[in-house]
């Protein structure tokens, strides 16, 4: 089975991020970047599927500038077989990303696209579903368990009120939630091996005009300063006074 894993270079999810004073963008000084955590989970899941059944090939793809090579190399170190960088400075919305990924899928013909449920910088949670729609493939979003059963997949997915199991024929698209797995620690041999794995650069082929555009970035409204109370009595009194109970 051929598995394609799209991944995005994002701001380190543990960094404290602020908008620039004039609202024109984010203040990225001193900020580190990493693979979007949900995409790293997707790569890990693909590698585990391969470890169970060696016949899989795992291709990772990222759309962005040459900076994203670093994240593609990390995915190769986790265990992906080869990488594709769609090298571009075009500004995309999630629909535009889906268009670009659709072209990669048409060229590579994977059986499964496994990707993150959302990018932790834009928090859109859109591209996977849009790509599945473009391809006419069934989807299972928010996956917490993926099991291959012959030419079908059984995916346990998280829902607003619990979980459900979907069965999908291949080809299909799955988006990873946090509980799917815990990505491995990447050991040195993996990093060294990744250096010699193929990383191919291709130009963007669609570059559709975005249908939405972020025009301002502001700090969230500050909450009024709170106070510490020194005892349960004081807490209960304050709650009663505010009519919160």
């Amino acid at each position: 089975m051929k598995i394609l894993v799209p991944l995005k270079r994002v701001i380190d999810p543990y960094a404290k991020v602020k908008p620039l004073g004039d609202g024109s963008g984010l203040d990225l000084s001193g900020i580190k970047f990493d693979i979007n955590p949900f995409d790293e989970i997707a790569v890990e899941e693909a590698v585990r599927m391969k470890e169970k059944d060696g016949s899989h090939e795992i291709i990772v793809v990222s759309i962005g500038t040459s900076d994203s090579e670093e994240q593609l190399r990390k995915a190769l170190a986790i265990g992906a077989d080869r990488a594709i960088l769609i090298e571009t400075e075009h500004i995309y919305d999630s629909l535009g990303i889906a268009h670009e990924l659709e072209a990669v899928v048409r060229a590579e013909s994977p059986d499964l696209v496994l990707m993150g449920k959302q990018a932790t910088d834009d928090d859109n949670n859109q591209a996977g579903q849009m790509l599945a729609a473009r391809l006419g493939w069934p989807q299972a979003t928010f996956a917490s368990k993926v099991e291959a059963a012959g030419t079908r997949l059984q995916v346990t997915r998280e829902t607003d009120s619990g979980e459900e199991v979907l069965e999908l024929p291949l080809p299909s698209l799955v988006t990873a939630d946090l509980r799917l797995n815990e990505p491995r620690y990447i050991a040195l041999p993996g990093i060294i091996k990744a250096r010699s794995k193929p990383l191919e650069k291709r130009p963007a082929s669609v570059m559709s005009s975005p249908k939405t555009r972020t025009v301002r970035y502001d700090a969230p409204p500050a909450r009024a300063a709170g106070r510490k109370v020194s005892s349960v009595d004081e807490l209960v009194a304050a709650l009663q006074e505010k009519g919160a109970l």
């Binding site: 629909l95 910088d121 849009m130 979003t141 999908l168 939405t212 301002r216 969230p220 807490l235």
Partner: protein, 298 residues
Amino acid sequence: MSKLLLITFDGGAEGHQLAGFAQKLGLPFDVLCISGEAPTEIGAARVLNAGLAEVPPADALAEGLKSLVAGYSHIAGLSNMRSKDVLARLAGLIEAGMVTDVIGLQSPTSFTRPMVAGSVIATVEVLAEPVILTVRPAGFPADPVSGSSPVESVTLAASGQAQRISVTARGGARPDLSQARVVVSGGRPLGDAETFERVIGGFADALGGAAGATRAAVDSGIAANELQVGQTGKIVAPELYIAAGISGSTQHMAGIKDSKLIVAINKDPDAPIFEFADLGLVGDLFEVIPEIRAKLSV
């Protein structure tokens, strides 16, 4: 012409939650319900009920919605996992732009939404219609409306490739997290599922509220998945949010910012949660919670 379609999945509550957004947007609107019945008293021009026995998987449902959404400039649902699953797929099908997690609007083509775990509020301009939106209702209180809307049945033909094999719904008798008036949440120090249920669940029940949890608590099997509150879990907006044994990570706080009153109980006086909490008490939650319950006789 500009016109809004509200999409609800299984009944009246969602329509009521979206009514305030529809009023603020100010466009004439219809409300569609996939399974169950949409409310007739929220000011919609038409109520459209598809009457399906259950909500189909996203591939089938988005395909079925495609023809029903033709002619609308705005298509909106509540900001939850189900809407994100189905409406983003619909956006891909009809080539529409999408704005996730709308919390405010300046005009029918300019919306605000949180990004980077709520550290930043983005203003998003819609460059082409139609646009699909998922809406967080906390920012859009509804005004009462008089009169009732005409109801029509619509046909939604839904067949797809994904098959639902099983459904596990939990939650029991507690109010829904995203609608509860009081939420009591617990973190990693709750230790195990039984303790979480007794201490956090018990306190939530005593206050007539819902129980919530951090990712750390969910990941270590202390609390169920659907109780996770935060950037990648549920967004809550209760009158009272009580956080017990929760450090206050950016990702957790992203889910609770709309709460009216945040109370933190943490034994570490330097825990970041105290920077956000309206009322903070330094103490051991295993002593503090029983003491509060005793004082309130609940």
